[in-house]
Symmetry: C2
Subunit: 387 residues, 2 copies
DNA sequence: ATATGTTTGTTTGGCAACCAAACAAACTAT
DNA sequence: ATAGTTTGTTTGGTTGCCAAACAAACATAT
């Protein structure tokens, strides 16, 4: 609602956000940054100190050369004030990540999945045991704020996995299953793995200043996440951003999802390998293909050129519709990009109006653990957003 | 900032928005709706009455059957408190629309453009004269809040027309030109015609409850507007939503923008007519083509089927990326839709995952004047949005 | 006709949050 | 030592909201 106490809530949130983004600072700094008086800032800081979310430091001002006046008392976030969990349920392994109140990683655990197409109940049990173990290691388990969970597939807003081909799942009410098993620990959001990965990648590639971007997570399939004005595009049911399923014409090099000519049927791992074999090449895994590339295999190079051309076509579609500042490539298949960069850019550019400035195309600097980290980061970022 | 007076600002805005959306109501109604006490509501209403944005009505409660208690004093927006202008600069005519404070249309004026590829200065002068005329007819010209202007082309966030093929314009600093000529009347936003049309169409097709939708404005080219979570997608430079320029493969039936296989090269007016002539048909204008269709011309029917298939392909792309609840078709070419509906839906559906629920496809109920109305509506809606 | 009940709108007193200004504290520079 | 500067606190005043009491304007029952 709109009440005087709401003003205080907002100002406390703004103060916390400043401390999170800009590191330790004094009450007077906060007052200047937030446009409040020092007295008000003091009052707000008093509340935060009492709540335990902020601490006074004894460390002296690092650059207090030529500074007159009374020295400031620096304030910083209390790292132990909260823990945010993020998890990834993948076909090969289950990962659990824990961030502290500052967003620093505290823990990253991983368990391999032995069977293919594991039952949902088995995966829930695996993750739940990892969570139980971690929580048991905490001195105060009440600081755990909750957990976000990602799966490689299509998830609706109600927390149901509609389809997750790598896991062989269809119509699994995963959020409810996890909530029941892990109660009272709240399972906050069930999300697509690409969205989670994007949260981690974006944190590195510009953070909050990056407001319009597209991320592609290229593995067995191609996942996507569209960032528009700083927000992840969800769509009416939560299915937006399924870049891999875009129909871009033709029939594709393989058929992953059942949609003829879907983007991922040209650009995902299986598509590359299928095309390479079709041309007489031999490679069972992406690593094999990469080795051939590095050795200058002409067939492999030709296949990469094709791959890059289709990648550029998809990028042209995204650029036309969304006008992003950057397109960020993640996942193992993105390692092919340096070999096809010029072809990709040419393919992209000839499909755009000359007036359009090209988006910058960047390779994500984060590895496979990014998905679990991103899931946790989204929880962290939410608590520092304005109410 | 976040100050106690900000609370009052927000609550006044909320009260105005309620009165705008739900019509006349009492102070007590407002208090209940906004979650405030009657005393606070009274205080807010007193401010609004003094500002002149709200009036007390003498009209009795329309359905005061079986109602006990003291009768309410109904409040309503003062229609004369403000005027919002919207303009359309088109290749065939210039339109000016004026809305009152309630959003009701007060005036819609139109002047034909005789020359093709008119100079920007000529168009600015035409519009400025129309605005001057209208403002002169007002008893109090200080109520004019400003004007939004739309052009058929690509506009950046700084208010420059980068290209407007129907007008033959490139790199015109139109917003500054208009601001200079019309000062002190503020020219607020320069926008794409599809965005303006979308504002008017959305008002009819669900209003604020429609939060994820795509609008196609199909005329000589195909313009687009993407609504995501209630907001128009702008992109980093304001170029997002250029649906007509999406490269969907192939070479197209004609080449409007210079992009091979762009969506509008299959689906815009010129594409339809070019394809029809290529197949031996004769039609110079869309009206001719429609007549043939109504008479059961088999060539025309076949061409519409092709058109519909490509339309469906574009819709599949949009649905995959954006997951909208509706796709709204506007512009004269959308009149073809009934003849190709089943083909379009089939083309759409076979390119989507079976889990996806199809967006509802609707024909816009608004005519060519929608663009000017929408431009004004966007100004109106902004003033009723929360600060 | 009178009394009772209900709903509206206003008034009064109190609380929370902010600001402005004065003040005390803790330092640097001369 | 003294003056100057910056920090953090205290005090008094304003604004906006709420809770509760009250007055006004009706309908209905007796």
């Amino acid at each position: 609602m709109a009440t005087p106490t709401a003003v205080r809530q907002i100002n406390e949130a703004r103060a916390l956000a400043r401390l999170a983004n800009q590191g330790p600072m004094s009450r007077a700094d906060l007052a200047r940054d937030l446009g409040l008086t020092r007295s008000t800032a003091s009052s707000i800081v008093a509340s935060l100190l009492e709540a335990g979310s902020v601490l006074e430091t004894n460390e002296p001002d690092p650059d207090r050369a030529n500074k007159t006046g009374r020295p400031a008392i620096f304030l910083r976030l209390n790292p132990d004030h909260a823990v945010f969990l993020g998890a990834e349920l993948g076909a090969r392994c289950v990962r659990l990540c824990a961030l502290d109140f500052r967003g620093e990683m505290r823990e990253l655990r991983e368990r391999h999945v032995e069977i293919s197409s594991p039952e949902p109940t088995v995966m829930v049990q695996m993750l739940a045991e990892m969570v139980d173990d971690f929580v048991a290691s905490l001195t105060d388990r009440s600081v755990v704020r909750g957990m976000n969970v990602s799966v490689p597939g299509v998830v609706n807003l109600a927390g149901e996995v509609l389809r997750a081909p790598p896991l062989g799942w269809k119509h699994v009410p995963l959020k409810d299953m996890l909530s029941d098993r892990l109660a009272p620990l709240p399972v906050m959001t069930l999300m697509n793995d690409a969205d989670a990965f994007a949260a981690a990648a974006l944190e590195i590639h510009g953070g909050r200043s990056l407001r319009d971007a597209v991320l592609m997570l290229m593995e067995d399939g191609v996942g996507g996440c569209i960032l528009s004005d700083g927000q992840i595009l969800k769509g009416s049911q939560g299915f937006a951003g399924e870049i891999g399923h875009m129909p871009i014409g033709g029939t594709g090099f393989c058929n992953i999802t059942g949609i003829d000519g879907a983007f991922e049927n040209y650009t995902a791992r299986r598509a590359i390998l299928a095309r390479f074999r079709e041309q007489g090449g031999e490679a069972d895994r992406l690593g094999d293909f990469l080795t051939r590339l590095q050795n200058g295999d002409t067939v492999a190079l030709a296949v990469v050129q094709e791959w890059a051309a289709y990648l550029g076509k998809g990028m042209a579609l995204l650029t036309t519709l969304l006008n992003p500042t950057s397109i960020i490539l993640g996942g193992r298949v993105s390692l092919l990009f340096p070999y096809g960069q010029s072809e990709c850019l040419a393919s992209l550019q000839r499909r755009l109006l000359p007036e359009t400035t090209l988006p910058s195309i960047e390779l994500s600097k984060i590895g496979p653990e990014g998905t679990a980290i991103g899931a946790a980061l989204m929880l962290h970022n939410e608590t520092f957003a304005l109410p």
